[in-house]
């Protein structure tokens, strides 16, 4: 166990696995994105930028993703923050752990089945019918951007609550008392003490949600009814229906590049704003 080669040997299976199943496949995507489509849908070696130049053909998908991902992230943040605040500061400490576990657990269960439930709730026999009874007629929810947004908030809320909770739970609560003793109103205390101290959590939560949202497929597929089309939906279409691997690879590469660029800029801004950022795990 002491020698370094023994430790490297322990790393061997994982390294090989990551190499064959992650690094090489990602390189293949990158290489294919410069290739030409074979008539049957495969790959012909080539070096051209045609696939990238054709990206505007899927502009709607990129546009929808770039609008809905930040919007969904913001909505999740606005809804998650008060809950995280409640859990970290107001909730009874004795039931706090239970309440937290209750937030995390749905996140780890099948998003497919949980999203499917919203087809009922937002569909013709769900909320629109309830609204009909109270006199609001003709509301359509399913297959609209609103439905997708609700699905997003529902699916990603836990991911947002948790990092914010961690940052709120960690800071010294005596700061709140100090602020109050110095005559600050609750609103002022929140604005000048609580909010700045929870920025690392907000930053982590927003980044996690945003990254995952960029690659979302299921929620728009089930609740958007083909009208709210994300890049993920375009990718499924390109690889599984129209079998255009080379163009699809360019779309996937573009998605990853946009993601990396956005996250890098975002991190830079956050670093400048808050000084430091802590990593938060979901467990």
């Amino acid at each position: 166990m002491k020698s370094s080669w023994a430790h490297r040997l322990l790393l061997l299976p994982a390294s090989l696995w990551l190499l064959v199943m992650l690094v090489l496949p990602l390189l293949v995507v990158f290489v294919f994105s410069f290739g030409e489509r074979a008539p049957a849908g495969g790959y012909i070696p080539a070096f051209s930028f045609d696939n990238y130049l054709n990206l505007p053909a899927r502009l709607t998908a990129f546009k929808n993703t770039m609008i809905m991902a930040p919007l969904g992230t913001l909505a999740a943040l606005l809804i998650a923050y008060p809950l995280a605040y409640y859990l970290a500061i107001k909730a009874n400490p004795r039931i706090r752990t239970t309440l937290l576990v209750m937030i995390i657990v749905p996140f780890w269960t099948s998003i497919l089945i949980r999203t499917y439930a919203w087809i009922y709730i937002l569909g013709g026999r769900g909320i629109p019918q309830l609204l009909d009874w109270v006199g609001i007629e003709g509301v359509r929810l399913i297959n609209t951007p609103t439905a997708v947004l609700i699905g997003i908030i529902y699916g990603y809320l836990p991911l947002m609550v948790f990092p914010i909770y961690v940052s709120l739970e960690k800071f010294d609560k005596r700061l709140l008392e100090a602020s109050e003793d110095l005559g600050a109103s609750p609103l002022r205390t929140f604005r000048d003490v609580t909010l700045p101290l929870s920025i690392p959590g907000i930053a982590t939560g927003c980044m996690l949600v945003f990254i995952l949202l960029m690659g979302e497929f299921l929620i728009p597929a089930l609740l958007g009814g083909g009208k709210v089309f994300f890049v993920g939906n375009a990718l499924v279409d390109l690889f599984l229906q129209s079998r255009n691997w080379t163009y699809g690879s360019a779309v996937a590469a573009a998605l990853v590049i946009i993601m990396l660029v956005t996250v890098t800029i975002y991190m830079k801004l956050i670093m400048r704003g808050a000084g430091q950022r802590e990593d938060v795990s979901l467990l």
Binding site: L9, A14, L18, M21, V101, S110, Y116, G215
Partner: protein
Amino acid sequence: MRIYAIVIYLFLYLPIGIIVLFSFNAGRHASDFQGFSVKWYGKVLSNPFAMDALTTSLTVALITALLASLFGTMAALGLQQVRGRLRALFDAIIYVAIMIPGIVIGIATLIALVTAFNFVNPALAASWPEWLGDAPRLGMGRVSLVAAHTMFTMALVIVIVRARITGMDRTLIEASADLYATPMGTFRQVTLPQIFPAVLAGFLLSFTFSFDDFIIAFFVAGAETTLPIYVFSSIRRGVTPEINAIGTMVLAFSLTLLVAAQIMLRRRARPMRQD
């Protein structure tokens, strides 16, 4: 404030409640509950397509969880002593594995494996000895599912187990060495018991992830149908109460595993916080 929290919890659990409730509905439609019945469960359990999908999902999840927790734990232990460039490279790859969207993993695995198989299959057919019969054809299926799921979940296990190793009491290992335990003996009697809860939690999370995964499987399953793929295509064909029954069973199953994983992660964490 408390009312707000209650509303959010309702929002989180209402959809789950609706699925469970309507899985016991005697009628066909979501809007009217026509009495309690378990007939949809009977329908699912006697539906060969659903059962095949369930078998595939369980097999893939079990093998994935075993491989991921074994190799992931090995890697986490190995990483303890590895520093420098190799360490930085490994950390970067794990970061990529966890951060890259599942859909991109699915696509990359699909085209890489299909391309590799297109090279390997003719070569295999050409070199296959005749007395062994027809040459096997490699294709997408259970093996590619396990391979892709193991890649991602292994990264997850490495992160979880490494966190536990970092939080581990080092003095115990030194004490064990001072008491003339062999390195293997120290590992078996000191290190392993300390990291075991994390390994088990990693195993359960890997199983849950693999069992619930839709998007990677959608690309790499080939002709196989996993349970999430079966559910997705059923939804596409129209909502039936059968899906509610499957959903309820799947949720109950994942919930059990998750609660077990949470208990495992907490068990060792508590005594450690005291010192």
